[in-house]
Symmetry: C2
Subunit: 502 residues, 2 copies
């Protein structure tokens, strides 16, 4: 196949290799050279008419375009539509799978009804000042010791660089407290030990009070200053975790409906193929999951910037759409205050790769979210309660974004990458999807799925999407993803740090 | 002793325990109750006259104060003097020790002339995406393997949460690059391996170009994407470090003058005694070091806020003083932009502890810097080239501040704490000083020095300062500080993150 069509209604397709003049694309002869990754018109587009890709308007013909013409910045222009927000005007009905026919996976059903895909004991830190203590506690539990607890996936320390030298209220503080609460309550955690220093801004006691967390056999908290030093803290922490292990080991996997899956949709190190192969395939998998009553969580607000008006049209109601617009305004202010910019316009490199407008670029990122209605919009690290396709505010930066998604309750992560990534996460495992076969082969020990076969192997987006969805069920049931088997996830916990470090 | 005098010219002393009326303080009877940590007038201070502590004006009598009176907010007012900057008007001559009589320590003299106090191999990461790779490389070098290289202190991985999802220029980017450069070139590192992902904003190649770093047997760089995946990167990294170890092991300690010591002056978890005991003692040690031609590096700009005009009077010239004022302006803007505040006024808790004005509070922090002229002011993580007492811009937050000081070349850290801290650092060891004997006893396994004996044990600030200075020489020569012996320092590398995470 020399081209990829992303929707039947599109009037352009994307060349999967450099095409000479008179090459055939969907039965039409190309009018001239078309570089790999660039677009070809499959019908005439008169000046002023819309150019459509992803079933969306990505721009307007700035001159008459003939079938077979190369479509790019020389004949396509962007028109800013950002003020024209519409709500719920593009709600495509979802053919829900009847409850009694739904797929299942083998999960850990917790007392509060939530479902885990893994069974960890977590050591959650409030501040960098307790980082070494937490690592030393976790390091004590060697593979030899853990062999006695075959149902426990490990003792994981969640250590970070913030928690003090920050304002004690406002966006940054609230985001950090949501992250801590989210990890403290994550369904992939059988037991949790919180470790602080004692005098930090991000007080564990405040968190317990504010969120109504109560200590018990599987939830404990302590501070180095109260316990009186590092060595005693490490010893006491080891005792506390050791007491949790037999209890945690009692957990067993049972069949749980796919509706209990919350999948973090993520991309990092994107390339020109991300929006053509891996992201649409992940979007298809998300659609399948949503039809099962499950949840997909798109994030990375700066990367959907410019396409937010398309997501508001998919919002189930005005309130959900307004939340998304609120996030966009917040980000404009945040980046301006920090002397950055939300400018997501295609870079020279993007343009060289075939991306013509900001809309096309953002649609490529948003493609991970499929086509179903947007059922909820959440703050960073906020608990995702809606089922269906949802959005969570976060930076694009991979570890910070995934940390928020996991804190929000995601029990699985699916991560597309073009340049290649060695990302992995705990307590929820990451499945990595390559956008191109060259990188998939080169980094074969890191990539779970090669979506590059959509370009070269005659595999459809739907087929690849189904493969991904099946992998969700397998990995959720305990099969190790490649990053998980490699032991990644101990150093990728990065709460989004907003605001001044003081 | 029931009181502490911080300077012969002061007209107040600080009560070291709660004093009843008619208690004797320097031969004067107290007029009423004086809480522990609060001030007592040792002579009459007429309304409008200056109240002096630390040989500085900390406020003005708002009514007539008699000898023996409790001096606090009820009879003392603050007058804002911030516009009245003077330069070089308080330059106290330093009695320099002649070069042939200077103290020495046993250090590692490097080829470029710099002197290390430790001999590590460092794995420096450009981005969180290479964090696990770096840790896995370092973890390979177990104590068994390292036993073959007795002159090498360890293989340390410097891993962090930033490096991408950030602007590629501006304050934040420049600060991160300075940190990387500072660790790459640190005299405590015999060899350095830099590990990146490949597509991150904080490109290793740019750094090597910009700073003129050349690869060689003891300086290597690599990216996961080029090496093709995590496992191969870890294997190659292990090979590269293994090749460095025999070379690094050739380094030997030789006598080096104390003028080669650069000591990071730091405090964290301060209490009401910090400014009375540990900080003045550290200031005295800094004065001794400066007389030897050595360097003290004060930092934590928000904590000296309100006392910067006293530091400009100590500036060796106008340019040095102007740099400090520039930092203060930058911070006012930074915190305002981030909806925080530079307000360092005594909190209700501070006031309860006896601190009356912002000046008194900031002087307590600045006391770590002693009394000698301010010879240089540096950006965060900038190489400190001046000898003498210097200042580096940084947040107060301990790990971020110390990371900047070490990047600036500090080969030793001295850290005062009142509440108690379990901080430690690599590659430069941290000496911890307790401000009070109660905490020193409670956290005895973490505290190297108890400065609380200034209150209770009849020890003078000068005696405690000399004890600290002697410890500088011992620890610089290889004696392990307590935090070092405990193995701290692998998780406390926290580059200051300035600007939006995108
Ligand atoms: Ca992305
Ligand atoms: Ca990302
Ligand atoms: Ca050794
Ligand atoms: Ca401090
Ligand atoms: Ca500090």
């Amino acid at each position: 196949m020399d081209s990829v069509r992303l929707d039947p209604s599109d009037n352009v397709v994307t060349a999967t290799r450099a095409l000479a003049a008179d090459a055939e694309v969907e039965g039409i002869a190309t009018a001239g050279l078309v570089p790999s990754g660039h677009k070809v018109a499959t019908m005439a587009i008169a000046q002023g008419e819309a150019v459509r890709k992803y079933a969306q308007v990505i721009g307007y013909a700035s001159q008459d375009i003939a079938a077979g013409d190369h479509v790019h910045t020389h004949n396509t222009e962007f028109r800013n539509t950002e003020a024209d927000y519409e709500f719920s005007t593009d709600l495509r009905p979802v053919a829900m799978v009847p409850e009694d026919q739904r797929d299942t996976f083998m999960g850990y059903r917790r007392e509060n009804g939530s479902v885990g895909t893994r069974n960890y004991i977590a050591i959650v830190t409030s501040v960098n000042c307790s980082a070494t203590a937490a690592r030393m506690i976790a390091d004590y539990f060697t593979p030899d010791i853990m062999a006695q607890y075959p149902n426990v996936d490990g003792v994981a320390a969640f250590v970070h660089g913030t928690g003090c030298g920050m304002a004690g209220d406002g966006d940054g503080f609230e985001a950090l407290q949501r992250v801590m609460w989210g990890y403290a309550r994550h369904p992939n955690h059988a037991g949790v030990l919180m470790v602080g220093l004692g005098c930090e801004m991000n007080q564990i006691d405040w968190l317990l009070d504010a969120w109504g967390l109560k200590q018990g056999p599987l939830f404990q908290a302590m501070n180095i200053q109260n316990v009186a030093g590092l060595r005693r803290t490490v010893e006491l922490g080891i005792e506390k975790v050791a007491a949790m292990l037999p209890l945690a080991n009692e957990a067993e996997r049972t069949p749980c409906p796919a509706s209990e899956l919350k999948v973090a949709l993520q991309c990092g190190g994107s390339d020109a193929w991300s929006g053509i192969t891996a992201n649409p395939a992940l979007g298809y998998a998300c659609d399948l999951l949503v039809a099962q009553g499950g949840t997909g969580v798109l994030a990375e607000t700066p990367e959907i910037y410019g396409a937010e008006h398309l997501l508001t049209r998919r919002a189930v109601d005005r309130a959900v759409g307004d939340k998304l617009i609120g996030l966009i305004s917040w980000w404009q202010d945040y980046t301006t205050r920090n002397r950055g910019s939300m400018d997501n316009n295609p870079s020279p490199g993007n343009k060289k790769g075939g991306l013509t407008t900001i809309l096309e670029k953002s649609l490529g990122a948003a493609a991970k979210g499929g086509t179903t209605p947007l059922t909820g919009v959440y703050k960073y690290a906020e608990t995702v309660t809606a089922h269906g396709f949802t959005f969570m505010d976060s930076p694009g930066y991979d570890p910070a974004s995934v940390t928020g998604q996991i804190a929000g309750g995601c029990n699985l992560v699916c991560f597309t990458t073009g340049r290649g990534s060695a990302f992995g996460s705990k307590p929820s495992p990451t499945i990595k999807v390559a956008t191109n076969s060259e990188m998939a082969a080169r980094m074969s020990e890191d990539m779970d799925v090669d979506a590059g076969t959509i370009l070269s192997g005659g595999v459809s987006v739907a087929q690849k999407g189904r493969e991904l969805y099946e992998m969700f069920l397998a990995v959720a049931s305990g099969e190790a993803s490649k990053s998980e088997a490699q032991g990644l996830g101990d150093y990728e916990f990065v709460p989004w740090q907003i605001g001044a470090v003081m």
